[in-house]
């Protein structure tokens, strides 16, 4: 006797992002096992990430190097004009479309790990082992700190710098990893006299020995991040009286440039993954509350492999936190619109985009550094190249893991991706030998019914909705459904996946 087909509908598939930590069988279908080059869009759907396009046109300015490694936009207080600084190819550069070498004379650079901070109409460039450089709005040039008028003391050759509480705080020197120095008030080039000072926290570390990796300001606290512990000082608006308010053991920061302030939280990369310091302050609990909990093992593997400079960015416009691992060519994307019940963020993973640095300018645009200059995170191409978006569900048992399933039909509702070739794939029993069926998404005209088009010269925009449906084959106890689509200039989101399966015999 013919059996009834059982229908499984996954609305907003992968809405919870990737989950490679929980048991795949029992994992809710809203988790994805793979969400490559995806984001969680504003409607809660899994969609293709944006790519980038070059702003810079004179790639020769940094040719021969490894591309841009730092970008920082400064808005002049005098007239509001913007000056974009970048570093690359052992140069200090200004400009976006045309990069101009602004390296001070007689200043030789052989490393690319700059930290750019701003304080009181000056921009400071710090790198370990190098005399800091200063851009002064008054002079409009970048100078060595010792050449700046009014500079005092020995310019600290620190790797980490923070402009906060009206002064600069610096740390992480070649031989000194446990002393924090701060400048005179509002004068980041004065390191002696006034209210300048330092604090050696070598005896404050909870585990006896650690090294400062990053500094941050949060909630009127000065946050000192060691590699394996975090020390929070209160009252840093007067550093001479600041005192420890909290010490977090076993949670530190492993990458200076992974620290991002979201306003409510500080996000940073620890040995255990991405942590939220705001939560840590509230709950003083580290490991179980990391926001990368659902990809913990994956991300820790990338951390272990990493030999380059990890970069990150937080974009309020895109509502994500990106952290990139250059060695692996992987970028993790954590959606910041809302956290899951377990405190983790919805996570997707990117490849091929391989940004070398990030910066969100005052307008909210996300700049990235690439080998040929500054790029803008906007288009659905990586430069001129296409990239593949992949979504795979976790293995689904359709509510009964002991019954053999025959997937008969797979139907999807896909938004956008006009003209993209899409592969619908399925596999059984945790295997990766996917069977696939290619489908070209619609690029047809969009009806503009009941939409006033007066004085609007655009008729082709709109939402392209494609509902591909294929007949599947094979059988197994659990089935994995996926879609891969080559992104080439158009956005794509997966709205819904419907799977019709026939229940077979019991095991």
């Amino acid at each position: 006797m013919a059996q009834q087909l059982q229908s499984v509908s996954i609305a907003a598939p992968g809405f919870f992002g990737m989950n490679t930590q929980d048991s795949p069988v029992e994992s809710p279908p809203r988790f994805a096992s793979i969400a490559l080059n995806c984001v969680i869009d504003q409607y809660g759907r899994v969609g293709a990430r944006k790519g980038y396009s070059y702003i810079t046109t004179n790639a020769a300015a940094i040719s021969g190097g490894n591309g841009l490694t730092t970008i920082y936009e400064y808005i002049k207080k005098s007239d509001g004009t913007k000056v974009v600084f970048s570093t690359g190819n052992n140069k200090l550069l200004t400009g976006t479309v045309t990069l101009v070498d602004a390296t001070p004379a007689s200043y030789t650079i052989t490393a690319e790990d700059w930290k750019i901070v701003e304080l009181n109409e000056k921009v400071y460039f710090f790198q370990r082992g190098y005399e800091p450089c200063v851009y002064s709005e008054g002079t409009g040039t970048i100078q060595k700190m010792s050449a700046v008028s009014g500079s005092a003391g020995t310019p600290p050759q620190a790797n980490e710098a923070l402009g906060a509480f009206g002064r600069l705080f610096v740390a992480d020197f070649t031989t000194d990893k446990h002393t924090i120095y701060w400048s005179d008030l509002l004068q980041g080039h004065k390191w002696t006299g006034g209210s300048s000072g330092s604090i050696d926290i070598n005896k404050v570390w909870p585990r006896g020995a650690d090294e400062i990796v990053a500094l941050a300001q949060h909630n009127n606290f000065l946050v000192i991040m060691g590699r394996r512990s975090t020390i929070i000082y209160g009252g840093a608006n007067d550093p001479s009286t600041m005192a420890v308010t909290d010490i977090i053991d076993n949670v530190g920061c492993i990458a200076r440039d992974s620290v991002q302030n979201t306003g409510a939280d500080i996000l940073f990369l620890s040995e255990h993954g991405v942590q939220s310091l705001g939560r840590l302050i509230q709950e003083k609990s580290a490991i179980l509350k990391d926001i990368s909990r659902n990809v913990r093992n994956d991300i820790t593997n990338y951390i272990t492999l990493e030999t380059g400079i990890i970069k990150s960015v937080y974009s309020t416009v895109e509502a994500f936190y990106l952290v990139t691992f250059p060695y692996s060519g992987i970028t993790y994307c954590f959606d910041m619109r809302g956290m899951l019940e377990d405190g983790s963020a919805r996570t997707t993973i990117w490849n091929k985009i391989e940004p070398q640095c990030f910066h969100v300018n005052k307008a909210g645009n996300l700049y990235m550094g690439h080998s040929n200059g500054i790029t803008l995170f906007d288009e659905y191409n990586d430069g001129t190249a296409t990239y593949s978006m992949e979504y795979f569900s976790n293995p689904m048992s359709f509510g009964n893991a002991t019954t053999l399933k025959f997937v008969k039909k797979i139907a999807m509702t896909i938004i956008g991706g006009a003209g993209a070739i899409t592969n619908l794939q399925w596999a059984y029993d945790y295997l990766f030998n996917y069977r696939s069926s290619a489908y070209t998404l619609s690029s047809g005209s969009i009806a503009e019914y009941n939409v006033a088009e007066f004085n609007v010269g655009e008729y082709s925009t709109g939402v392209v909705i494609t509902r591909p449906s294929i007949n599947a084959s094979g059988s197994g106890f659990v089935a994995t459904i996926g879609i891969t689509s080559e992104i080439d200039g158009a956005a794509l989101s997966i709205q819904q996946i419907d799977v019709l399966a026939l229940m077979g015999r019991l095991v």
């Binding site: 002393t179 002696t192 006034g194 000072g197 604090i199 926290i201 404050v204 001479s240 420890v244 010490i247």
Partner: protein, 298 residues
Amino acid sequence: MTLDQLLGITNMGGAAALSNLGIKEARDAGTAQQTALTDMANKYQSDIQFKPYTVTGATGSSTFAPGGGASTLSPQLQALMNQLLTSSGGMFSGAAQPLDQRAMDVTAQLEAASAPSRQREYLSMEQRLFNQGRGGLQTAQYGGAPEQFAFAKALEEQRAQNALMGRTQAMNEQTQQLNIGQGLFNNAFVPQQQMNMQTQVNTPFAELINRAQQQGAVTGGELAGQGTQARIAGETQANNLRQVQLQGLLDALNAPAGGGTSFLGSLLGKLFGGGTSSTPAGFVTPTAAQQNAALNLP
């Protein structure tokens, strides 16, 4: 020459002889009296000389001699006096010491006294700073933490106060040493004063003796004076008698036996020739100085 004349001449001779005898006796009596009284005055003169004497009591003894006096304290009091003088000398020596060294010593003692509490305060502050994670703090404003600066400031203030207190204390101590030294020095002479008092108490008894001797000397002087007066009186009496005698003779010779110049008168003049003075020859009237010396008067 008639018999009457002869008898008259005989009578005049007899009367003159008798008068000479009276004069001599009066003179001898005055001389004897002067000699006796002078001897008596000489006797009292030896008695008036100072007799050495010694006053002895619990505090010691005092001896007075014509060459001077000497006091000797008892051994116990002498030892006490020596001890007090030695002690006062020590006190004076201490009071005369340089002030700086003593002030430094006192300051060091004050520092040592406050060191434990200061150390506790420092450790407490250090622990507090460490617990606040501020142990390694260095600032241009304060050197270290403001608390450390305040501590160091308070420490220096306390040290300055200790130095001031040390100096004040040293000055007080020297003043005290001076006062004690003065007290000891004054008390060192109390035995001597007591001894002087003892001597003064016993002096009236010696004074009585001397006074009696002085009275004897006065009496001797008076007696010598009286002796001189007695001799003067005898000589005066003898002189008077001589004058009477001579007047009688002169009257007798000048009386004319028939009214003419008297022969006897001229004879008497030949007999007694030159003897017209009323003072007998060989008699010397004492001068005023001789009289005072005889009376032992200045």
